[in-house]
Amino acid sequence: MAKDSKHANHTDQRASSEPPDRPTGPLSIPVSNEARDEVKVNNANVSELKNACDDAVKRYLARPDLFKQIHVHTDVRLGLGWLSVFVAAGAALYGYKVEFEKSKPVVWFGVIMYVVLTTIQTLYAYFVEGDTVFMGRRKTFSKRIITERITLSSKTQPATKPTKNQPTSTPPAYTLSISYFRSTNAGKSLLARGKTKVVRGYPSFFDEQGTMHQEVFEKWVGEAVESAMDGKND
């Protein structure tokens, strides 16, 4: 117990003075210009805007020397999804080959399994995955093995009309929530923990034609991630 609290105080002191010991944040690694593909979306479609921002976050943080993306949610969705497709195909093929009355038990089983798998998929996506956009992990070696875990989730804040308390309307905005853990000793001693939440309207990142200002977006994301890495807690 005593060791931990001393550790926490030590980290707090160091966080305020830009510790040299902190692993490299995304802002320190510049993006080469040739790697850049232009992103163009339909300005009027808010879900396209959100998807473009989500993709940019994934591209930005999964660069070499930065976080390694954890694909658990995608893999679960792929596994359950393809399993349900094969169950459906199998049941349909069986029902096609075998005469109707005899095929009934197998087709019943197939249909019920399909419904169960689809329900599990939906529940997983809603409760477990939720708004998560990126889950990453990194191991660095500086004096000791430091393990970092970062989770980013995003949501769109809808546009608002002018009201009495707020006379101007606000555009739809992109909310990014970042949760960060740094630990050593195989996760047993916590070095730093940060949680930030940043919001900015979509017009700051997209121009009238719908082209994305990726540098502006990446700088904004990088600053938010680095403040989470510094131990800021919202």
């Binding site: 879900s47 998807n51 694909h71 995608t74 893999d75 969705r77 792929l78 999804g81 393809w82 349900s84 497709v85 459906a88 195909a89 049941a91 349909a92 029902g95 109707f100 009355e101 009934k104 087709v107 019943w108 197939g110 249909v111 399909y114 419904v115 689809t118």
Partner: protein
């Protein structure tokens, strides 16, 4: 020709490609399961059929869509409109029940049918059988929608339409994201 697509796929990664394919495949899978589930619930091999001939006019015209059920424990009665398939002939026929008899020895129902718009009953269509049995019946007509069946008739007469529709659906699923 495919170099550009291959480059895009490699950049996007295997997972992305699998996800897009999954979108397309799950649309087809859910359609299949809805169809099979409907068949199980109605106890009918083909719960939705299209009228192909004019033998039931003026009740049903060519191109009408019919909805069938086949309750296992209900007797069929004179006046019911049934869809049946003779083993050996592929096409389901929709005609009205004219006579029913119960075969006590074998505990099954025997039926004779006739199209409203035909002059004679269906004995010639039975391919040697004297009566229709329950196992030949696909179902009893419960409801119908006029004209909708022409889509299926068009797709059967012009098979290119079927592929065009499937291709269009696939393209839509691949282009859009959820």
């Amino acid at each position: 020709m495919f170099a550009d697509e291959l480059k895009t796929f490699r950049r996007l990664g295997l997972r992305h490609v699998l996800l897009q394919l999954l979108n397309f495949a799950s649309v087809i899978a859910s359609g299949l399961m809805i169809w099979k589930g409907l068949g199980l619930v109605t106890n009918s091999e083909s719960p939705i059929v299209v009228v192909l001939s004019g033998s039931m006019e003026p009740a049903f015209y060519r191109g009408d869509l019919l909805f069938l059920t086949n309750p296992a424990n209900q007797r069929y009665q004179t006046g019911d409109i049934t869809v049946y398939k003779i083993p050996g002939a592929d096409i389901p026929i929709v005609h009205r029940v004219l006579e029913t008899h119960d075969d006590k020895k074998k505990d099954k129902q025997l039926l004779l049918t006739k199209g409203d718009n035909n002059y004679v009953d269906d004995l010639e269509l039975y391919q040697g059988l004297q009566w229709l049995e329950r196992k030949h019946i696909v179902g009893k007509v419960r409801g119908f929608l006029p004209y909708i069946g022409y889509v299926t008739i068009a797709m059967n007469d012009f098979p290119q339409l079927k592929f065009a529709l499937l291709g269009g659906l696939g393209l839509l699923a691949l282009i859009q994201r959820e």
